[in-house]
Symmetry: C2
Subunit: 380 residues, 2 copies
């Protein structure tokens, strides 16, 4: 066999392998690319018997303690923020309304996910109110939030549109609404943002986005104001749920336990990835995130047929970057996929005209440079 035939066959096999196996870079905004250490952690978990580990054992308690303490360190959250585990951020939408609202919640809606939080409050029978910003935009700084709402729901990073709220915007409500609980959905931004934990009462995320883990775990941080509110609901005879009520969460968390048999392996893996992030350094992760988003926005702003969906640079998300791809969407998606790059589809009504690119710690600088080079090549 001569060399060229060999190379041809090799190339063909390689290409087919490429098509049928997972892509080399997965930019879907969640479930997203798995952090590169996870498979090793999983192997170690099996060696150590973690998948069989009872959740009332000392070994589990030490995993719980390690994961929650390291997470607080990574997020820069004070010790008086409790860390609880749910099945998903969707569950936390429900539990937060159940535990923290008697009557009135207020939601700042600028996309599908912020709106779902509002809808869940409505389904739970609350007088939920919302103000809506146009898709791809943030809110005006003088936004009118009902003065006596019990809970203000903010979506720090709207995954459907790639809009992020500025910290000044998030932080204003502590002054304007000192009696309301400020609950921040940071599902697709953490661990990137550094929140000022004196200005918010609760924040939550799910692990399949910025933490590069398989889906099936939501993480909910709450302060003592939230605990007191849930206790007062309970004292007044309101129903705040059963096994995932805040008081029952806390009663168990004090023993480093969970109310029910949780996703033990998920909690273990989260702890391991948080250790990896701490070793890399949160500042390094932040600066890399900013570098990667900068080079992608740069080409979107200088491309013949692509553009950034979010125009206002101050509200552009660092972690979910949405590109207007118009009628080239399918073609671009195909071309990138052929190269081994999997973009995320546009969301909802924009499914056929946009592509989304997650920019999480799992996405390396090299992968982002490769993505940008590829978009450069596809200019013509």
């Amino acid at each position: 066999m001569d060399l060229s035939l060999f190379l041809e066959i090799f190339h063909k096999l390689h290409t087919e392998y490429f098509f049928f196996m997972k892509p080399s870079a997965h930019f879907g905004p969640g479930p997203s690319q798995i952090y590169f250490t996870v498979e090793d952690h999983l192997r170690k978990a099996f060696r150590e018997g973690i998948p069989s580990l009872g959740h009332r054992t000392q070994a589990f308690e030490s995993i719980f303690k390690n994961t929650t303490e390291n997470l607080r360190t990574l997020l820069g959250a004070p010790a008086d923020f409790h860390v609880f585990f749910a099945a998903s951020a969707t569950e936390i939408w429900e539990r937060s309304i159940q535990n923290l609202v008697i009557e009135k919640s207020f939601h700042l809606v600028n996309g599908s996910f912020s709106n779902r939080y509002f809808e869940i409050a409505t389904l739970l029978g609350k007088s939920a109110e919302k103000i809506t910003a146009p898709l791809g935009e943030a809110f005006s700084s003088d936004v009118k939030v009902h003065p006596d709402t019990e809970l203000i729901g903010l979506t720090h990073n709207e995954t459907s549109t790639g809009v992020s709220l500025s910290m000044d915007f998030v932080n204003q409500f502590r002054t304007t609404h000192p009696h309301s609980l400020i609950v921040v959905d940071a599902v697709s931004s953490l661990p990137y943002p550094q929140f000022d934990y004196t200005k918010i009462d609760s924040v939550f995320f799910s692990v399949q986005k910025g933490f590069g883990l398989p889906a099936g775990l939501g993480v909910w941080l709450v302060n003592e104001r939230c605990m007191a509110k849930a206790e007062s609901l309970l004292a007044q005879g309101h129903r705040i749920g059963t096994y995932h009520s805040l008081p029952f969460y806390l009663q168990n968390a004090k023993k480093n336990q969970t109310p029910e048999t949780p996703n033990v392996l998920g909690i273990y893996l989260l702890g391991k990835v948080v250790e990896d992030f701490l070793r890399r350094g949160i500042q390094t992760i932040r600066k890399e995130t900013e570098y990667k988003s900068a080079i992608l926005y740069q080409i979107l702003d200088n491309h013949p047929f692509l553009s950034g969906f979010v125009k206002d640079k101050k509200t552009r998300s660092q972690t979910v970057i949405v590109a207007n791809t118009g009628e080239k969407t399918d073609w671009l998606n195909n071309e990138l996929t052929k190269m081994g790059i999997q973009p995320g589809d546009g969301y909802g009504a924009n499914k056929k005209t946009q592509l989304r690119f997650a920019n999480f710690p799992a996405h390396s600088k090299e992968q982002y440079e490769w993505l940008v080079d590829s978009l450069e090549k596809l200019k013509n």
Copy 2:
């Protein structure tokens, strides 16, 4: 170095390895021993990109379809039973009461887990009633269940005590209470029991017991009577939850999807293990289960200082076998652990006087023979 020194060091290392690594047989009743194929399935899942898989993709839909259809086949459940995924059986306790009860539920309580189902109904504000059987016993056949209860909660296999309800007992309520929904907690018995699905309306389990999987997934089967009841609650203005209400589950399941981002990897692994079980044959699994329980009960009934906690042979669980170990509990636990055998602790008040042994498909005949031989050796 002479040979005896070498052997001594080798033995020491081996022993320490033994203590710090997972035991060779894990008989805790859940989380329990992982089915032997799971680690391979997990490796394949990573190769195929399952941990990053979006839950709105065709690939996920085909996993959902495969898992639910094979599960129905394995359980012998008819096609009109819907299969929904929750985070845990604890969640299903809550969701089933929320969706199926306006006012009255009735619970047959003979241990901690059946009682928790009752407690959850109470916490949700229902007029929950219960009758209680002594620990280690089943109910008398003429048990008086309130005639106009909306839901009868039965725990097929009480994990805390090792008591199983007979199928005749379970099946009687369809005749005596034709208007009540019959909901069966089969958390620690499935896939062993063959239920008569014309006699029950719902059954649920979690995967970390009889399916030999890591914890973090509950599975809920419901028939059309349950769907109709949830719809009627909704129509009457009752709150039945948000993303995990039965109508919303079904709306998504019709597309082979889930309401929220689920534990995708857990659903994939469950599908793979169910395929393995089907290949092995459910009859083989049942006969092996009965063989293994027979040899363990045999030695418990003929042991100088051990005995079976459940005296009535007809109500002895096939899948969770509870031994009275009295003041020898700690000693026995230590001796078995040194051999590489990890028993489950007794539950609650019996923690210091009983040991529990799970008998799931993950536990091989050889492991059970080893366990029995070891108990034989420890007779003196």
